[in-house]
Symmetry: C2
Subunit: 153 residues, 2 copies
DNA sequence: ATCGAGATGTTACAACATATCATTTGTATT
DNA sequence: AATACAAATGATATGTTGTAACATCTCGAT
């Protein structure tokens, strides 16, 4: 049983536990994201799936399925890049802190990390001083990944 | 001379100093953003300008002009909200640190702040540990503004 | 006055996203 | 197994956001 299958297995369990179903199409879309191992736009993902599985899924379905997967916390939408990425923690069974996303602007690889709570609190304090209130600590940051840093050097 | 006019005056100086021109149309678009006092989508801004100045500017022009204004650092694009906002520092003549943006998800008001350098450095360190490199500390954060916090309470 | 660069207009279209209604599928009940 | 209902998907249309390409206009320098 390979890595992808293990993740899909977990996703299936997760859905079952939530009274939802990871249907064939949903599985295909999620697998597309996992296999790509980077963030994809909805239409990139659509093309990938259609090539990979020899189907002709309509765009509508991909959007619907992405919405479902987001609701199940199996996929994250990255507004900064306008792309979607598989959650990095599907195989973990424990709860995670609110994640932050490092997005490689070169190749769309994404790393999901947990910023130090102390740092988050400093941020929150800075925001608070400005009279605003942070409603999400799910930060997205424009970065370069290891591979693309080397390439640039 | 009112507030808006003062800002526009500064913007004009700024452009002159950079060998560019703040034309009538560009002025209209910038004034639209300043008057709105919040982030607007390109098409919202287009509508605003067309109503305000009785014109029929094509969408293309707004995008072109926004690009120009961004290049001149008179306008910021907020990817998180897919909207544009006037720079808060047009009237200042001194240089500013890379700004961070607090975006009210309720009303699109935006506050441009400077996060503590120490906090930024912690963030950068966190990113670095993950093997990535921050290429912009221009963070965008989903918030509620003062007005909308009260309203919600 | 004329010329050229830069700005704007026009048209077409690509990319991203949602609304709505029809059809199919999967599951629970009989 | 037949039925019937809910959930999922298909199909179509349309709305929103953004760009490409080429034509025209305008301002400023000569």
């Amino acid at each position: 049983m390979n890595h992808v299958d293990r993740i899909i297995g977990h996703a299936e369990q997760h859905c079952k536990a939530h009274g939802t179903r990871l249907t064939v199409k949903r599985k295909q879309v999620l697998m597309g994201l996992i296999q790509s191992d980077k963030a994809l736009s909805a239409y990139e993902l659509l093309d990938f799936c259609n090539r990979q599985y020899g189907e002709k899924m309509p765009a509508m379905s991909v959007y619907r399925i992405l919405e479902f997967l987001e609701d199940e916390h199996l996929v994250h939408k990255l507004s900064l890049a306008n792309k979607y990425v598989a959650c990095a923690h599907i195989v973990c069974n424990h709860a995670h802190a609110v994640p932050q996303f490092l997005i490689c602007r070169q190749c769309s690889k994404v790393k999901e990390i947990a910023i130090e709570p102390a740092t988050i609190n400093e941020l929150r304090a800075n925001v608070s001083e400005a009279g605003f209130k942070l409603i999400s600590t799910q930060l997205e940051m424009n970065c370069l990944c290891e591979g693309c840093i080397e390439q640039a050097a």
